[in-house]
């Protein structure tokens, strides 16, 4: 699924809204998450997951081919941890030895 398909699906479920507005809602949500990460904030969406930023200090790397030392600059990279509910839903009934849910 692409962003455009996500918007399409939400627009169909909300016929009282303009397609353009649905598009703005989706864009706003992802932009807000990106902006939070740019401030170094964490974004926690219970049940879905949490976005955070990991910092990688500058280091001396090596060119694996030549062995030459290269300076690698400091970096900050986004990280996502799947939430408990989604993690469990991904494996519903798939886990071996899990008691079957019956009546």
């Amino acid at each position: 699924m692409l962003k455009s398909e996500l918007i399409q699906r939400l627009a169909e479920a909300n016929p009282h809204l303009y397609h353009r507005d649905v598009e703005r809602v989706v864009t706003t949500i992802f932009e807000e998450i990106a902006q939070a990460l740019c401030r170094g904030d964490r974004v926690e969406l219970r049940g879905f997951g949490a976005f955070s930023v990991k910092r990688r200090p500058s280091r001396i790397g090596r060119n694996p081919r030549t062995g030459a030392a290269v300076a690698v600059t400091e970096k900050a990279t986004p990280y996502f941890k799947t939430g408990k509910e989604l993690r469990e839903r991904l494996n519903d009934g798939a886990a071996a030895g899990e008691p079957a849910s019956g009546d």
Binding site: L45, F51, E74, Y79, T82, R87
Partner: protein, 104 residues
Amino acid sequence: MTGRTITRAQLSEAVYQEVGLSRNESADFVEAVLNVLSNHLVKGEPVKISSFGTFLIRQKGGRMGRNPKTGQEVPISPRRVMVFRPSHVLKDQISRALTGQGKA
């Protein structure tokens, strides 16, 4: 770095401010977006959000793990995990904002 935690509340507030839906409808919408994403991922299909990143499902095989405290071997059953691969745009944006470095 402020170290704050953003939740659904701030996301719906942003939707309310930017798009002008009611507060209630904004909150419902944030939830709806997450639901559509989750339901799609649970089916095992990836979601690509341009200039943000890709959510995809990986199948992990079973293996023997070890309880690091007791040294006891424990079987880890095969499972599906979700991974988020940030786009270069997002990575560069964050790196630039927080370290003043990275590609422009």
